[in-house]
Amino acid sequence: MLVQKTFRRAIKSAAAATFLATVMLSGLAHAGPTLDKINQRGAIKVGVGTTPGFFAPDSNGKWQGFFIDFGRALSITVFGTPDKVEFTSSSPQQRLPALQSGEFDILLSGVTVTTTRAFKLGFHFGPTIFYDGQGILVRKDLGVTKATDLDGATIAAQSGTTGELNVTDFFRKTGKAFTPVTIEDTGQFIDALESGRVDAITQDSSDLVGKRTQLKNPDEYVLLPERLSKEPLAPAIAGGDDRWLELVNWTVNATIQAEEWGITSANVDEFLESDDPAIQRFLGVDPSFGNELGLDPKWAYNIIKTVGSYGEIFDRHLKPLGWERGYNSLWTDGGLLYSPPFR
């Protein structure tokens, strides 16, 4: 009896000590601002995923993709060269804890901005660089161009995901009929669609575009323009380093602003002659602007020259896979991309 009691007490005090230690240590781990660590290390640690077009290693083992280019742009902002950045693949389950523990300085792995992540998990998000959302991929011979035209279609969704709920909600709203088929393994979506077992499949559109290219005849299928959910994908960083957040913000803004002005990697040198004072500030022709920010006055010029504008990055990685700009067009073209002014 006595032994048991002592034992129990020992376990209790051990648990309390562990808890205290964890709290204290995690406090320590977050003490230093991210940017200090980056400068000390001489490289930015970026967590990415593996989705074709967004982030994937090429045959030489070099990371390529839409998000990867924003990582390179960030490296230019901080260090002046595109290669002081280490990309590490991380699974969706572990990427947020890894960011919290300081394993990564930034996640460019397609994290959706949500309230919980901002308030409860304490993450900060940069500007949305890709507006994703649940889409519907249909066979062209159905003769449908809008999701609202779908009536009585058989649609496959992944079981147990929000995708299943979203598609049900959508059809309840439109008042049309549909037959849901739930599939456990995403690999079976292609088979289901090709064999004609279902008329359409629904998933995040970034996944669907990848799936479409794996079909035997990709041209017989079309991704409908509607999005059944909002999935704004943005760079995520741990809270507590304001300057790091601003560097992320304005690196992304620079690529968007460049596209708005029509500046590309090919013609950026011609723009150095521009009379527009805003463009002169932006490209560092007038160095006082960059100096005030504590940046290399040529930082935006270097990003555009090396990586390109938002439109170039998009066309390089996502257009070949069949992506349309859609919501990811400039605000001037009816999209959602809008950079605050550089002044």
Binding site: G61, Q94, S101, G102, Q214
Partner: protein, 357 residues
């Protein structure tokens, strides 16, 4: 003469085949069913893998009807070595060779002895420094390591390092000292009650927080330390089974001869016990090799993860079947080699036992 003998051999093989495959009614049924199944499966597989397959060219040359071996040609380097810089590729290749050598040497009883025990730490250090890019202009950080060398390195090193720890744990669990025994039981049950993924998360997320400020251990090393501690619990239980199989009379006899505890273990108990547990250990080793693919959850590019990532390249999109086949072939070679070895060794030992007077 030789013709007659070969005819004899042929006849013998035929007899074995006939009695083995068609000897009884059940055997005949099983044989026929298997043949039927093979007839169903093999022709489409052959058509996919050979007739409709594409062997050269780029992704556009590949039809989705057949296998795209051109993909494997283009991506083999990535699947085997992942992010390692291509111009320094000889380093991971040498690591594979080194590990293969030391594993083979460890498998052959005639090399068992002190030199082999000394060779292990040397080989491990050599592999580590080779991978890190020692004596080259630029160090290679471990997030650029990947593919087969990582799989083999983690497997061989963690298993080798886990064995001595496991030995102590197994002895402690049978010890008469209560504290030691309780510690061992708690440790083993705690580790065996935790999934390996959980252990990897601890290595990835908790361990860095538990380290003093300023001290940081490489992620790969952290993972290997935790995996070693985790596997030790499993190995310990296998070794304990071996220890229990030795009759207690032997310990008593050793004590009567005046041998102390350690001498008894070293000279009498362990040589017999370890021999018994070899099949169990090989079995564990095969399971551990396959478990290394879990390293993917903390972003380490082992063989399987590299194979998966190779099919995400927009230039070569979606050739998952081919990529996974390559990985499966490598796993199969290593695993079937290990199990053949285990059977060979068992046969050798049991032959030795029968000859003993």
């Amino acid at each position: 003469m030789s013709i007659a003998r070969s005819r004899n051999t042929l006849a013998r093989i035929l007899t074995v085949l006939c009695t083995g495959l068609f000897g009884t009614r059940t055997n005949t049924l099983i044989t026929l069913a298997t043949l039927l199944l093979l007839a169903q499966v093999l022709p489409p597989l052959f058509r996919w893998a050979v007739l409709d397959a594409t062997f050269t060219g780029d992704a556009d040359a590949c039809t989705r009807a057949g296998a795209c071996w051109a993909f494997v040609m283009a991506k083999l380097r990535f699947i085997l070595f992942a992010f390692y810089p291509p111009d320094l590729q000889w380093r991971p290749a040498l690591v594979i060779l080194l590990l293969a050598l030391i594993l083979t040497a460890s498998a052959l009883p005639r090399f068992w002895g002190r030199p082999l025990l000394l060779a292990w730490p040397l080989a491990v250090l050599a592999c580590w420094f080779l991978m890190q890019g020692a004596f080259s202009a630029t160090p290679i950080p471990s997030n650029q390591w990947g593919g087969l060398p990582v799989t083999l390195f983690v497997w061989a090193v963690c298993f080798a390092a886990a064995t001595p720890i496991a030995l102590l744990l197994a002895l402690a669990r049978r010890s008469k000292l209560g504290g030691l025994r309780t510690f061992s039981v708690l440790y083993i049950e705690l580790m065996r009650g935790t999934p390996m993924v959980g252990i990897l998360y601890v290595a990835m997320l908790i361990l860095p927080m538990a380290l003093p400020d300023g001290l940081s251990i490489d992620k790969m090393l952290r993972a290997m330390i935790m995996v070693t501690l985790f596997w030790a619990a499993y190995v310990a239980e296998v070794i304990r089974a071996g220890l229990q199989a030795i009759p207690s009379g032997q310990t008593e006899a050793a004590t009567a001869l005046g041998l102390g505890y350690w001498r008894t273990q070293q000279l009498i108990i362990l040589p017999q016990a370890l021999r018994i547990v070899i099949p169990g250990m090989v079995n564990l080793a095969i399971g551990f090799l396959l478990a290394t693919s879990l390293l993917a959850v903390i972003g380490i590019f082992d063989l399987l993860n590299a194979a998966r990532a190779s099919a995400a390249d927009p230039d070569w999109l979606g050739f998952y079947n081919e990529a996974y086949l390559v990985a499966a072939a490598v796993y199969f070679v290593v695993c079937s080699g290990a199990s053949r070895y285990s059977r060979w060794l068992e046969g050798r030992f049991s032959a030795g036992r029968h000859q003993a007077p």
